[in-house]
Assembly symmetry: C5
Homo-oligomer: 330 residues x 5
């Protein structure tokens, strides 16, 4: 078994039995007993590494091509010998506030499940461990694995959506802060946030239709009795997408509100300039008048001239200042 295989086991009656020596024998035996199935988990296999698996389980070449190259859309494809599901688990990095999407491909067939993982998100060891503690669930075979995997991925969507919601609140606090510390970065933050939302939507929205097929349609290789469970997953998925679309709309609104805020602030500043300029213009003008060199300016020759003019200047400034304050211009 090459090292790219993360885990591989046969499950009998819902319990982990053994690690199979040979895939063909294991699969034949599992199919014969009807109560067992194989679950192989791989991480970023190359074409050569995957060749053995592909042959044993008769996987469709198109699905295999998709499973080997990352950057697929979430989808559900039914082939003659197996079902192929692409999920995009997302990872939220708290430090950079970024969302990245990994890939998780699941092949479901008669008595086998192959999971192929690309990128960071969607580690399955926790899912496998949890399932191994619930034999009554695992007894339902490959369907149970598909359910558990998609449930884990979709539940994580809701967690990430909650993280984004928390970020949203920070953005709102920034936008509406009375004295924003860094107004220049607000538009950039909102935009960056929008990109994260787009990334998130690319992972989640195309999954709605496949999930609904699992929840309502008769998809082969999937146990009909599992439909309520997939319905539950589809419901959570819808919740996550609705949530994130709400966030997206709020972000647009926040940007528009930010623009309006800037307009208000700018107007305030413009009004303040005009007010200060008006106040400063008065003493300068008065000083200019008494700086004129006319021979006959009687005020200039009175001892009270200078103090009076100074008082007049100060008075005008104070008076204007008070008036502008009252009118809310300063």
């Amino acid at each position: 078994m090459p090292g790219v295989i993360v885990d591989c086991a046969i499950y009998r009656a819902g319990r982990r039995a053994e690690t199979p020596g040979d895939l063909s024998d294991a699969l034949a035996e599992a199919r014969a007993t009807g109560d067992a199935f194989l679950w192989i988990g791989m991480y970023e296999p190359t074409e050569q590494e995957f060749e053995h698996v592909r042959k044993e389980f008769v996987l469709h070449p198109l699905a295999v091509e998709d499973a080997l190259t990352a950057h697929q859309r979430p989808k559900l494809e039914v082939y003659d010998d197996s079902l192929f599901v692409v999920l995009k688990p997302v990872l939220y990095d708290e430090d950079t506030d970024t969302v990245t999407a990994g890939e998780l491909m699941v092949f479901v067939g008669d008595s086998f499940v192959v999971t192929v993982r690309h990128g960071e998100g969607g580690a399955l060891s926790a899912v496998r461990r949890r399932l191994e503690h619930e034999p009554e669930v695992l007894r339902h075979g490959p369907t149970a694995v598909l359910y558990a995997v998609s449930d884990a991925v979709v539940d994580h969507y809701i967690e990430v959506a909650a993280e984004l919601q928390a970020d949203m609140e920070e953005v709102e606090a920034d936008v509406f802060a009375p004295n924003p510390t860094d107004p220049k970065s607000i538009a950039m933050r909102i935009y960056g946030f929008k990109r994260q939302v787009l990334e998130f939507r690319r992972a989640t929205t195309p999954l709605i239709q496949p999930m609904n097929r699992l929840a309502f349609g008769g998809v082969p290789f999937v146990d009909e009795h599992a439909q309520p469970f997939f319905r539950d997953v589809a419901d959570h998925l819808t919740k996550a997408t609705e949530y994130i679309e709400g966030l997206d709309r709020l972000l647009s609104d926040a940007l528009a509100a930010h623009l309006a805020q800037m307009g208000v602030r700018q107007n305030d500043d413009v009004r303040k300039i005009s007010a200060w300029a008006a106040i400063a213009a008065v003493p300068t003008m008065v000083a200019g008048i008494y700086g004129m060199n006319f021979d006959h300016m009687p005020e200039l020759h009175q001892w009270w001239g200078y103090p009076l003019v100074l008082a007049l200047m100060a008075g005008a400034c104070v008076g204007l200042h008070r008036m502008f304050k009252q009118r809310g211009w300063l």
Copy 2:
């Protein structure tokens, strides 16, 4: 009976009969007579507290999980032994102008109804009391309870929508006030309002599809004859959502109008600055000229020089002021 059970009663032929001693016996008896049903109302039960109910009424584990954890989307789920409906009653807090959504889960089965409430909104005692005064309605059994509960929730949506409409009018008054007292907060208020609308839509929009199923489709455990009644509820729900979507669009328009208003005001202020600056520049310039120290400035040596220049300054200021007033610049 644990304290988490708010009320619990058997209804016979539309009338409250007694509080059942034992759920199993009561249910068996109700099913036998065919004319009776149990209605249990709970408030935020824990898993242990709910265990007894879950077992007696054979509720589906997925539904039970949803009923115990809040933060569900409105939905209708049909299981083998019961129907599960999630409603999100909203509460409007007049002081803070905020909308909060609680949760109300209803299990409807053969001869029983279980209502589970989370959060503040959607208290059911009034509904129960009203129903107990209308035995001809209550006679229809669990369907009547489901109808009465959803009717109450949806009717409250319309009331909250009316409250939001009243708020909208305040916002409009603020946006278009000739001298807004606090222009800085307008964008924030509109944005805050948009959040409330989003909260409201999250509660109402996903409910449309379930309500239409109750109104048109053949949902088990629901009396076919009740369809016109659910149609009425669905109609009110549509009205509430249409209403709130209209408000949402108006809010965007109000924000855009606010932005345009700010542009107009700013332009007014810019024009005013330019006008005042022009007026103030004239006497300052004239004073500067007569403050020059040339030897040969004949005006300086006439007795009429000073008063003439003062008059000239005043005249220019008054003239400009009048001109600018006429052109609407001041």
Copy 3:
């Protein structure tokens, strides 16, 4: 007959026969002959006033509840014994440029029509008079009345849409006027207009689906042969809604254009300030220089100093003014 009944008559073979003495007898007789029907028109009846009618025609309690309280959405509801249609005729007030919606409920059953009117719009006397002059139409019974009423309501929509179009042209003239008289009110007018459009849409859009049911589906109590006629009404309704949606989009565009206009004007004003300030700064600066008190400033002692400097100042101002004019800054 209570005074709330506006008009009440039996029609036989398309012609007004008599005012019935007793509803039961009249209805029984009309049903017996098959060629006659009753048409009762009421205006804002109270529950008591409506009770008699409700009983005679076996109207459904939910429909009656809707008919008594105003503020319904347009809809079509089929009950066992009658059809219930809610229309929202609109009124356009030329003085205030506002659109208000009234309500018009129509019950159509076997050999009877009941019309209930709320609010100002949708007076039916003209419709009734016109129908009474077209016996070949009225012969088709209740269907003809329903058609005539909805035709009148929808035709009025088109008239109101034309009025709004005329208003739109006024708004456009305001937005793009070279010297708008009252720029402050433009955003308010556009916003106010949007509210009218919203009011109009609330009346018209929900009616599309019911009209299409009348035009295409097999609605009971409605003559199949009338479908082309209802198709015509549905077509006019679609025209009105498309028209008003076009207006709505134009309004948004007009607001955006207004915003851009304000930007252009503001920029013009900013450029003008800078130009005037530059012009005014030159003589002030020159005057300042020759107002300095240095002992050795040879120009000060020449007889040509003062006139030259004055000429220089004037020349600089004129030159700058001309240059700025050429560059389109002033």
Copy 4:
């Protein structure tokens, strides 16, 4: 034959036969031979002028009403005895850059076509002439005429869309010109353009559904074998509408870009004012200082005082100017 009839002819086996003397006889004969049909073209007939035609061809009163009054929506209506199609040919006036929509109604029945034209656009003589040169097409009877007419109308849509595209390029050139000659009119032009687009959409969008019915559905009076041809028309129509919707979106984007451009220009101007004001403030301030009347200002009494200060002023101005240029502020 009244003068309102533009042209009227019988076609036999795809060739123009004669102008009929009497409509009834001609129609009866055409129907008898099965290989001939009548085509009557009218221009804005009055009710009286149309009465004869209406009777002969048993046209439906609702269709006749529509055909006589202009301002209809594009539609396809099937009646018992004929098909009624409303088309809205558009006219593009290059001088005023405006789009106006005329009306073209086509009645298609057993062995006859009636075309009624309102307004400027959609003259049919060219279509008729072209068809008369293609007897193998005209042989297919009324269907061929309907096809040829709608093909001509829709092909003209594509031409008008191309004209609008050319206008769009002019608008773009204006918006992004480095020194726009008339920035004030840009928003107005974009808005005016949007109105033309709206006019165009009103003519084209509602036609999509009727064309698809002709292309796919079994419409009576229309030859099934003509479906690929109507599919071609529907395809061109979709192209025209997609094209114009693309233009509409581009116009919104252009307006937004214009707004952003104005913001950039304004900011440039604001920065320039601040820079020039800073430059002008320096010599004024220095001159003010040396204009003070202190007894002990040693610089005033040196012969180098005045030239030094002048040099200092000039130096500061040049230095600041250079610095601002470097920083891109001027």
Copy 5:
């Protein structure tokens, strides 16, 4: 064989056999053996050049008309004797950052494929060469060619989308650069980008529906077993269109963010002007005061008057500057 035919060959059992001498014979032979087909590739043929091909393969005149004139929408049309598919391969020019769409028409019939290419994009020699190295694919006949061609076109869409994504990142860097080198061009770049996106969407969006028909519906002349392959192409196409729609939305967001940024910068500049003006106003005012010509201004006659005032001016300037820095105004 005219020179407009780029390549022409008979394929037998998946291998290139020979260049046919006469089309009729070759086609008859291919149809007889059932295992062979003809593939003719043409480049911008004229009507005359195409006439021979049209006749041999009995192509539908409407399809031929479309194939000869460029500027078609992507579509799939089924005729009696052949299938007609229009694809729009796109070309991305790195130098001008522009997207141009060419045209690729494919006729698929019984034992033949005709490909007609217009414009720059979509050269097929690489596709043909690749196919000729995969005889097991080519063995599936015309369907394989149609698949290979559409796969190549759609795969190139994804590459172009990736190029546009890279451009997007440049635009983002420009928008959010702290000191953008050329802010004037940002709106223009975003707008130009939007045009490219529109061009791209015109090529891709209308193709979705045809591809889905190939992937799911029973299209004649297409091998049913190829459906999963066309599903794969449809899936990639959906990915490309979703991707580009995400870009389009991001561009709108970037433009809005740019607008908000401009608002912030402008406000900064306005605040800076006001601050500098306030600083410069102080010494000018003080100098004005001591430039007044009052007889009794005791400070003027003290030796410390001048230095004190100079110090005072400098102190006020420094103090204000520090204060404004602290408040973040400078």
